[in-house]
Amino acid sequence: MKTSTAIASAALFLAALAAAFWQYRRPAPVALTPTLTGQVEYCLTCHADLPEISPAHPVETFGCVRCHGGERLALEADLAHSTMRGGRNPSDLAVVEASCGGSDCHSGSLAEERDHIQRVRTGIQATYAGAIAQIRYTFGAQPDAIARYGIYAIEAYQMTTPRAVPYLDAFDPAQESSQPVKAFGEQCLVCHLSVDALPGAPNARLTGCAACHTPTANTDLEKPVHQLTTAMPYTQCNTCHNRGNYDLSAMRFVPRNDQPADRLHDYYQPIAQFVRCEWTLDCVDCHTRHEAMGDGNLYSSKKDIQYVRCYTCHGTLDKLPLTRTISDPNDLALRMAFLTPVIDLKVGDTVIVTEKGETLWNTRQLQDGTYELFGKATGQRLTFRPVKGSACQQKPDQQESRYCHECHAVQR
């Protein structure tokens, strides 16, 4: 045997040995067959240490692939992840229908309020139509502040109010002739559901549904957070809503330069007034799912959809807050209370409702005419009484919170 042949034999042997060693080191596949899909998947071979994403999405039922996509039988990371939807975030609005949709999930009927995806995609936090319309109007690119453009083109899911518009075209800064509008498009589209978060831990959030429902605020976004929640703390809302202001003269976003150290000072911007309940509670304790996720209409301004005020819970001098008694075991309020179990709501309970008919399911009227409210994220119980019958002298036509703050604002 020639020396070269022997060297080739040695190389071949080493290659075979390396292949055998590589096979030996590879972990044994961990199989899971979720009841929802009935198809085996091997994702848990590497991801067994991930916490369950939520009690409503147990891995034994959903598995991983139903939501994330990916190659369910692959054991190589690159191959397994190659067809994942939205990278690590399947709730990104570009892919959310495939990930979270389905008539039994989040793309169901209007009647059952299971149409989250349709409402969110038309919601103003996703379209950013309000800011775009205001800027284009302010700088003379359109004659009024009615929305014409959104982050993406979309038709209304429903039109139940004359304030809504039927469709939006995609906003393209390159097509704008106004320099400030062009600059706005290039530098200020930083706070909507399809854009990545601004740098900094307080801004840390994902896109799509996870922007709100995955609590990433004040974390390192590079580290995965495998959690979905309906009990969003105010810090998650603050990743967009309390981080600073736009400077229209320079057409740029100016982050807050203070570093609030507690809930009281973190809650609102330094110049804002508010009452104690506002910083004691979390945003989602008062603001409804339609306010946050949209109601299917395409609006031109946040003012068209954000409507809950102090009087929603406290009533006015001459009217008690609106309430209704739960009589149907299929009531949406019970479904919500089940998913965020801070209140033992049941048929027969009387809860506060908004003037649009949305239930504040974390409230309940008590026997003595007062009310209780449970914090969704904190679980804290607060009791409160109506304005009617109190010493309050609020004028009937002055029901915006700024009027309440004239007497009730706290000092920082």
Partner: protein, 148 residues
């Protein structure tokens, strides 16, 4: 020994050429064995066995009249109602979570659907009752439940 053949080890009869030939053949043999091992592993691969859909529950006499016996391995409950056997799946008809037994019947821990003792929907989101499973009585008095 020819004068131009170097000895591998002075004093030994094994020449360097012999050693290289032996080592080469040995490595080739080992490579072949490793490859055969890999081939055997490849050929002996068995995909994940299908989920069982048939469960032997033992003698019917083990389940007295009036009993409701959970069958965890089948995710079902076996009911003996005055000698008449019935098996109900405990897989929620909404999205497939396994329901828990509660005072009023069954409750889904995932999304809150509730069912009565017979599996009828008390509240959604599930719209369909819990599935009645096929129950087979064998000639020797045994019971077998089929989950598909």
């Amino acid at each position: 020994m020819p004068s131009n053949v170097k000895q591998f080890n002075p004093g030994s009869s094994v020449t360097r050429r012999d050693f290289i030939a032996l080592a080469g053949k040995s490595l080739l043999t080992l490579t072949g064995l490793l490859s055969l091992g890999g081939l055997a592993r490849f050929l002996s691969f068995q995909s994940e066995p299908a989920q069982p859909s048939e469960f032997n529950l033992g003698p019917a006499s083990d389940y007295p009249p009036g009993s409701r016996t959970p069958i965890p391995q089948a995710q079902a409950v076996l009911i003996n109602q005055d000698g008449k056997f019935e098996a109900i799946s405990l897989v929620c008809t909404h999205l497939g979570c396994v329901v828990n037994s509660v005072e009023t019947g069954y409750a889904c821990p995932c999304h809150g659907s509730r069912f009565d003792q017979d599996g009828n929907v008390l509240n959604g989101p599930a719209k369909q009752p819990l599935q009645k499973l096929v129950l087979e009585e064998t000639p020797d008095g045994g019971l077998t439940v089929h989950t598909k």
